[in-house]
């Protein structure tokens, strides 16, 4: 069964970090460009994020996500460059269109912010096993039921995908068309999706009973199957990040 998680196994410093520290870094990447809204700060943050991705040796894995993001950013740059209200300074003309400096600068601001946030999330996603992340969060006080729900999604989706393949094959062998014009494709949607949904909803009953039988709802204190992982320097990194945010705030207020 294939996994839907993007986690990539490597043996690097970033992989050995506490998942909570990576969440702190996401907070840092989100807040710093808001506190210090200058394009230079954004560039520094982007470079920092990219360095971490390189250190974690997962840069190649980010390419599909980044190429999707770049496609949207390209349209942002074009549309804002041409049509943004307040455009005044002409950069250059091509055909009937004029590209303006203000719109372009705004679009670059958007682009750096998006790349910054995406790379911060990619550091977490590519270097952390979902189950490790959820376990750390549960130890920090997340409801263990919500933890179960998140973990079980990673099991249910591959299961549903394989039943989806079976159903697609079955419907095709009965002569259902899944290619052709829009109407044919629309008509194919329900006979493909319906059985998967009905089957999975019927399965929830068994799943619920299996959990109940194992004391899922019991009030007693829960124990962990795995021993708590020891992460080094967690406190230092987390306080360091908070200090960085505080410094940025101070800079903004004082300077």
């Amino acid at each position: 069964m294939r996994s839907i998680s993007l986690y990539t196994e490597r043996n690097t410093v970033i992989h050995a970090m506490d998942p909570i520290s990576k969440l702190f870094y996401i907070l840092f990447a989100l807040l710093i460009p808001i506190i210090l809204p200058s394009i230079k700060v954004s560039i520094v943050c982007v470079v920092l994020g990219l360095i971490f991705l390189l250190v974690a040796r997962v840069f190649k894995k980010t390419i599909p996500v980044f190429s999707f993001v770049f496609l949207i950013l390209l349209t942002v740059i074009i549309i804002q460059g041409l049509f943004r209200p307040g455009n005044q300074t002409t950069l250059f003309h091509f055909g009937p269109f004029t590209l303006y400096k203000e719109g372009l600068m705004f679009a670059f601001g958007v682009a750096f912010r998006v790349i910054n946030i995406v790379s911060a999330f990619m550091i977490l996603i590519l270097t952390t096993k979902p189950s490790d992340l959820v376990e750390s969060l549960v130890r920090k006080g997340l409801s263990s039921k919500i933890g179960y729900v998140i973990i079980s999604v990673f099991q249910i989706i591959p299961e549903m995908m394989s039943s989806m393949e079976t159903i697609t094959d079955a419907q095709r062998s009965r002569g259902m068309e899944t290619e052709g014009n829009l109407q044919t494709r629309m008509k194919a949607f329900l006979p493909l999706l319906g059985p998967v949904i009905l089957g999975s909803l019927a399965n929830t009953k068994e799943r619920a009973m299996a959990l109940e039988v194992r004391g899922f709802n019991s009030k007693g204190p829960k124990t962990y199957l795995l021993e708590e992982k020891k992460y080094r320097y967690s406190k230092v990194v987390q306080w360091g990040i908070l200090l960085g945010i505080a410094c940025a705030l101070a800079w903004r207020i004082l300077v």
């Binding site: 839907i4 998680s5 993007l6 996500v65 999707f68 949207i72 349209t75 942002v76 549309i79 804002q80 041409l82 049509f83 943004r84 209200p85 705004f106 679009a107 958007v110 912010r113 998006v114 999330f121 990619m122 996603i125 039921k145 919500i146 179960y148 729900v149 998140i150 999604v153 990673f154 099991q155 249910i156 989706i157 299961e159 549903m160 995908m161 989806m164 829009l182 494709r185 629309m186 194919a188 949607f189 329900l190 493909l192 999706l193 319906g194 998967v196 949904i197 009905l198 999975s200 909803l201 019927a202 399965n203 929830t204 009953k205 799943r207 619920a208 959990l211 109940e212 899922f216 709802n217």
Partner: protein, 201 residues
């Protein structure tokens, strides 16, 4: 029989187990829509179904967790749109509770209302994050046209969002209602937390 409370926070095991299934249904819906190259997202069928079956709280949780999972597996930006999914779950749950999704004609109105809610929540997110665009080709073409002619970013962004959201949520609600009607009674009954247990001792 008295109806169960709308905001009942008692999450039964059945309702909890429904959440990952709802997320799975969302995922599969999006996958099929992509596979069949349909011009819609169709990625909230599970959220709406969960809201119908187990109320707005479970629906909203399904929506939020759905985007967390998307964020962890495909596209980090969807974390931010978790707020929209949460609102879709809440809106669908409340509308169903009030009896607004009880026939095909009513479901059409409810679908449009949910689409409107989704567009209203998404527009500020689009403006703050992307400068107003949605990433959908047709919506963005409209955005560019409106922006060029009126210079109103908010109007352009709202229209950009709504041309995609209205038909998408309408079809999602209709599909969910159809599936809900076809569900066996013992599955529907599973989420009715008002069942009394009679003790025979």
């Amino acid at each position: 029989m008295k109806k169960q409370g709308l905001w009942s926070l008692r999450l039964s095991t059945a309702a909890l187990v429904l959440i990952p299934t709802a997320v799975g249904i969302n995922y599969i819906g999006k996958l099929f829509a992509g596979l069949l190259k349909l011009p819609l997202w169709l990625d909230s069928i599970g959220t709406v179904l969960a809201s119908i079956l187990a109320g707005p709280i479970v629906g909203a949780l399904s929506g939020a967790i759905n985007n967390v999972i998307y964020g962890l597996t495909a596209d980090p930006i969807s974390f931010i749109y978790g707020i929209t999914s949460l609102a879709i779950g809440l809106a669908a749950g409340i509308l169903f509770y009030k009896g607004w999704i009880s026939s095909w004609s009513k479901a059409i109105v409810a679908g449009l209302m949910i689409g409107l809610v989704a567009a209203i929540i998404s527009t500020p997110l689009n403006i703050g994050f992307w400068g107003g665009q949605t990433g959908n080709v047709w919506g963005d073409a409209l955005y560019a046209t409106v922006l060029a002619n009126t210079h109103a970013t908010w109007l352009a962004s709202f229209l950009d969002e709504i041309v995609v959201d209205l038909p998408d949520k309408l079809i999602v609600v209709l599909i969910s209602f159809g599936i809900f009607k076809g569900l066996p009674k013992n599955v529907v009954q599973l989420y009715n937390t008002n069942n009394k247990v009679e003790n025979l001792d």
